[in-house]
Symmetry: D2
Subunit: 253 residues, 4 copies
């Protein structure tokens, strides 16, 4: 067959298995989303439609891949935790990162019009993905704490920044200058003193990010039925302290 | 800052640079497209709407990434050649494979309704991607020859198979049995003898697949302007023999 | 400088860092040691001179590399455990595996004449090395258990096999046939019944392998002095059960 | 069997195949050879005994591994070229780098007393190894040019440096200061003007390094016999220009 003479090129496809017995963490990030959010008129500092669309895309990924037990989203990024013993695609790195990033992207575009009924999608957005492996519960906990702390820091900054612009009449340059060197308590003070905004009363979604967690329901003992007996819950709660994790020991088992 | 205590988790992100000075070949494949084509009523053996949508998604990828000089598509797969010296994303493997696969997927969904105006998209399709590196022109030529030979073999088989079903009234099982062990000339004979179909007169698109090639236009000598002075042409011609390549020496330079 | 025109070739040296925060396990194996042991008249089933030379080479490796906390040797192989947080050679894989295997080999040849004073080395022996990473204490414990169980199984087989030949007058083929399908208790019975050998009284070195363990001595609290305040002990004891490990919690910390 | 319960740890041994169809370049470097040469009283700037011992160790590696077609040595380093199509150890990276570095080291120690009959080896030396892959003839040529240019530059510097110390009575600090900023012609002038040394008359070995090249002998056409019909020649000639390579087209085939 004509094909066989060329088929040797397959030998250049090298194996890329991820280490067994470690947690897989996939992080997906929007590509050039600064421009994308401008072109589509995203609200500042947070666009709740865009965040809900991200949550929906992430939820579909979790529904399709039962080995994802937890996800965390903020802004234009989402992180997915695959359980330690997953054998998804035989743990082939490129297969996992490309397929899941593709499916997330697809769900984002597919659902766009539901979340932005009045804003046609002007061009196809894209996302990049990367997989990081973590050996123990400690690093996984700290990874999610890192992202949630990042959410908090960014949101506080952005909230004050956009208040200075939208309500204080400052330019972006002025607003950055106003904020330079300020610590957290000073930012709270600016918000409250100048704009009568109590940061603590701001929507938890913006301060904590989105947590999608696979919760077990029912009490079947048959292993096979377990996948069907979970549901994916969206919450906006603290995942830095122990409470969240202690209530869900299966996440890191 | 609360963040810094957790930021050590970034150290687990290991570098994944691809070898310099070699050709990068990205192949994107539809994920579960057998089901996807059934659910969306694709014509058999080839759905020209679906193939044109694949071509359009591939074209957008090439427009976005000037370092892609050639692409080849058949069925639900597309292969992209990045020039040997590309420094795209510093040649980071996961970044390239995830971003380009994501953008292809996004373009596919984004353009769906233009190619399938009467067929709503029922769920988000996804694709996987992989990158293979090839050291010399020889392997690159043979890679594309491998895909085009595959196109030819599959298309001939599928053309007879579906003729047996659609015109010959056979079941799928019977059609496979009829074809078992037949060589190329026998398949031609079945087509011509029983269904009056001359395989040679079938659309080149189906027999040769789709070639998207970046052609240089204009004659500027300024290197910087070159990217803007190319256009992407879609052709359905032989890429196994020398003619195509000899006419475009820049592809493998 | 003439050099700079060619120095680009360094770009082809890609990074190969091992994952942080996991245990590194280096296993060194003799290359073609079946032939090597024949050529140098090693005693069968065990040559105590050869085993002591292996122990000596391993000890020198541990003396040179303080981050190795434990080693296990049997026959012509030795395994070394580097502590989880080691930053040896920035955890570069090829650097670690080549340098440590080289130093082991060098020590083996260097010390040959002390252990084989009457047997000149006829040609240079070589060893291969590989690094495996293990995420948690569990896998490290099981790795060493795997090697020690292997030692036990091989030694029991070899002890009976060579008794059948040396004392029973069987050929190698006959001895293998005699042993085919026998379980552990039957091998004990052959040894005791036919050759009056009580397997339990055989040297622990042969049954358990060699364990080189870095023990802390003194009680300085200064971290810097700790490396100098360890000594390397050779023991031949069980490392499958908990006792060994419970007595040395620092090994897996 | 007790073993099987633990044998899962083998799953952590991941594949590490090197890309097919590319040249493999192994470079071996002495580890802490500044100290090693001091402890063993190496002549400065070059110790011909030490260089010959390096050549001998490299020769034994080439005799053992027929797929090595060329080697280049200078000071305490040696580079080995494996032919493009080699399937040595299935191109497993750690296996190749560890075994060949081990065998080089072993040969070095094994042969020490022949080259240093009056200087007992005081401790075991070690070497590190790394493999770099090069896709085409161009990079291989440039790699060897890079090493030979390096030899030239280092040797000229060291020759003047040690003349200033040994014949000019300068300290090392003074000699470095004398040489700071000098170009090649000025170094020649110092050598000739102050010490009556014509650099061009210095031993080619020191200026060009050592080239070990596998030359084909006889004229058998049977592929199998070819390995036995080569011999390894040591030369000290230019390998930057074309002459050497044009005379030996098989090296890069």
């Amino acid at each position: 067959m004509a094909n066989s003479r060329f088929a040797y090129v397959r030998k250049y496809e090298l194996p890329d298995p991820l280490l067994p017995g470690v947690f897989l963490l996939l992080r997906i990030d929007g590509h050039s989303f600064h421009r994308f959010s401008d072109e589509h008129g995203f609200d500042k500092p947070n666009d709740v439609r865009a965040l809900r669309l991200m949550d929906q895309a992430a939820r579909q990924v979790m529904e399709e891949y039962p080995d994802i037990v937890l996800a965390f989203g903020e802004s234009d990024e989402y992180s997915f935790l695959l359980r330690r013993q997953t054998t998804l695609y035989n743990r082939r790195q490129a297969k996992i990162v490309s397929t899941l990033t593709s499916y997330f992207t697809s769900s984002y575009v597919f659902n766009w019009s539901k979340y932005f009924p009045d804003t046609p999608l002007r061009y196809p957005p894209s996302f990049d993905g990367r997989i990081v492996v973590y050996p123990t519960e400690r690093e996984v906990r700290d990874y999610f704490a890192w992202r949630q702390a990042d959410t908090h820091i960014n949101n506080l900054y952005n909230t004050v920044f956009w208040a200075l612009i939208q309500k204080g009449g400052e330019t972006a340059t002025q607003a950055h200058a106003t904020l330079r060197g300020t610590v957290s308590s000073q930012k709270h003070e600016i918000l409250f003193g100048r704009f009568d905004i109590n940061y603590n009363s701001i929507d938890e979604r913006f301060k904590k990010g989105s947590i999608l967690v696979r919760e077990e329901v029912g009490n079947s003992k048959k292993e096979k039925e377990k996948a069907r007996q979970t549901k994916i819950e969206l919450v906006h709660c603290d995942i830095i302290k122990d409470t969240f994790w202690n209530a869900r020991p299966a996440l890191l088992s």
